[in-house]
């Protein structure tokens, strides 16, 4: 009897939480808990900004993977190759445009950064097209061979990076306008983090518009649920697949480029390291949904930064523990695409 009473008391709380956004509140809850544990507001703000920036970059890298899986039921283990290639292509372009980057002109600086990102995106588009048409298409609907083939492609891609850029770390030049920090009271915030956050947000909004407000997005969302029916309504979903694959790969390359600028020192192992985190993000968020991926990415970004500050020893396992906890609570992730 006590139990039913308790449940009765919890019900309004539950519905209030649901109205306020349900699982979307998790990052806020994490932030509040961290605030209490950390104590010092200035450190908390710095960590939160770092977490959000990292989350947004992870979102860029992970959204494509999630989208491709949701629509095509293809899990591309080679996705991280696009992250690595994006990072190295952008770094090379930045190094090549060193003159513009060093010039005392904001326009030239910004142009160099723009070119670097554009090169990464173009590479992602072209590589994504090649990957979809040559590597993935023959193994649709065959998960075992898909995993093997994309894993093989990842090996080849990583070796190509080693052959092209060598095994030693590469420094990534950063333009003046993206270096340094701004002071808010006694809190210093790195400019690049704000930049990363804003760019990630812009991409999210663009993706949101594409998926929820455009006819193309309607097709994609429908295709995620039931591709056969979309075909039976008269749409060539295979052509849509190629487009989504190219888009997803380009986003990964952009994420890699952003990450390169953030880390300023990159190695060919970057893709492999990020891949694990990206997997954790999409598993937490729920495969196939862009909102879920954003939520997962922000959670991972925040938790990694808070734990790194509070208990550095636990930092590396924190992602894994977060994933385990969330999977036990919700086996399909926080916001899976199909309800």
């Amino acid at each position: 009897m006590g139990q039913t009473q308790q449940e009765g008391a919890l019900e309004p709380l539950k519905s209030t939480l649901q109205r306020l956004g349900g699982v979307n509140l998790l990052p806020f809850a994490v932030a509040v808990i961290a605030f209490v544990l950390i104590g010092a507001p200035s450190s908390w703000v710095t960590l939160t900004v770092a977490g959000l920036a990292m989350g947004m970059m992870l979102f860029l890298m992970a959204s494509g993977l999630s989208l491709i899986f949701g629509l095509m039921d293809v899990l591309n283990f080679g996705h991280s190759a696009f992250i690595s290639f994006g990072a190295f292509v952008a770094a090379s372009v930045l190094a090549w445009l060193g003159g513009w980057l060093g010039a005392d002109s904001l326009v030239l600086n910004a142009l160099a950064v723009f070119c670097a990102f554009a090169a990464a995106i173009l590479f992602g588009l072209a590589g994504g097209w090649f990957f979809e048409v040559v590597i993935i298409k023959p193994v649709y609907r065959d998960h075992l061979r898909q995993i093997l083939i994309t894993m093989g492609a990842l090996i080849v891609a990583e070796q190509m990076i080693l052959a092209l850029w060598g095994g030693s770390p590469m420094t990534v030049p950063r333009p003046a306008f993206l270096t340094g920090s701004i002071l808010l009271g006694d809190v210093a915030i790195e400019v690049y983090r704000i930049f990363a956050f804003l760019l990630g947000l812009a991409v999210y909004l663009a993706l949101y518009w594409l998926l929820n407000r455009s006819r193309l997005g309607l097709l994609i969302r429908a295709g995620v649920e039931d591709r056969e029916m979309v075909e039976a309504l008269g749409f060539r979903i295979d052509r849509l697949f190629v487009g989504v694959f190219m888009l997803g790969s380009a986003l990964a390359a952009l994420g890699g480029a952003m990450w390169a600028g953030y880390e300023t020192l990159i190695t060919p192992a970057l893709g492999g390291q990020m891949m694990i985190v990206v997997f954790i993000v999409v598993i937490i968020g729920g495969l196939g949904s862009v909102e879920g991926t954003l939520l997962g990415a922000i959670m991972v970004g925040l938790v990694a930064n808070y734990v790194g500050f509070l208990a550095p020893k636990l930092a590396l396992a924190s992602n894994m523990l977060l994933m385990m906890a969330i999977l036990m609570w919700r086996p399909n992730g926080l916001r899976p695409a199909v309800t």
Binding site: L218, R221, A222, A232, L233, I237, A337
Partner: protein, 235 residues
């Protein structure tokens, strides 16, 4: 004149041959009913027409055009709509989005929309609700509405009355009667009463073979034949 003809098609799912030499002639106008027990191959026949499963032999000819090798999307664009047994509703999309997806250019023909709202008033009421929240009958209405939001030449419907309340079955019957004035319907149905009152021509499939074909009126009179061919579904 023959709108659709299946000429000795053979379809296998994996290594199991499901259809053996299935031949059908569907004439223009009215409702053609495909009867048969569970697992006889009715759904496979519809899916083979739609190109969702590829026949390994034989041909499907629509308006004189051999559809072999055509992609499902191309088959759909020839004017064939498909209402699968699972209804194929996109649950995450609203009723409106489900319907607008089925239009060719993303705009509604207001006349047709009005007619659909007349046939299925529930759809207007739940216009901007997500489709997963609809009841089974409403989902079925949406699925049928999707098939007629654009002018089509042929609609393939797979067991539209399965699991529906009697009142909704009546509404569905009205709707199909109305639709069949302008569009040919190929209907797979287990509910014989429903099939009998709608059908003009019919065929019975058993174990992947066409075992009887003729007019519904003749078949409805011949109870012995019904008992022999449909002993399960007649009960």
């Amino acid at each position: 004149m023959s709108l659709l003809s299946l000429n000795a098609i053979e379809t296998a799912i994996g290594q199991y041959a499901v259809l053996h030499q299935v031949s059908l002639e569907v004439c223009e106008g009215g409702v053609f009913v495909l009867l048969g027990r569970n697992g006889a191959g009715k759904t496979t026949t519809l899916r083979s027409i739609m190109g969702l499963w590829r026949p390994s032999a034989g041909s499907v000819v629509f308006q004189g055009q051999d559809m072999r090798g055509l992609h499902t999307a191309e088959i759909a664009r020839l004017g064939i709509a498909y209402v699968p047994e699972s209804m194929g509703i996109f649950g995450g999309l609203t009723v409106e989005e489900n319907l607008i997806l089925a239009t060719r250019n993303g705009r509604f023909d207001q006349e047709r929309l009005k007619r659909i709202w007349q046939l299925f008033p529930a759809l207007e009421r739940f216009w901007s609700k997500q489709a997963w929240s609809l009841s089974g009958g409403q989902k079925q209405m949406l699925s049928v509405a999707r098939a007629i939001i654009e002018p089509r030449k042929l609609i393939l419907v797979d067991e539209p009355t399965k699991g529906l309340a009697p009142a909704i079955v009546d509404a569905m019957m009205e709707a199909f009667r109305d639709i069949s004035q302008t569009t040919t319907i190929l209907l797979v149905e287990q509910n014989f009463e429903f099939a009998k009152s709608l059908g003009r021509d019919m065929a019975v499939i058993e174990d992947g073979r066409v075992v009887h074909t003729g007019s519904m009126a003749d078949f409805a009179r011949d109870t012995a034949l019904q008992n022999r061919l449909l002993s399960l579904s007649a009960s």
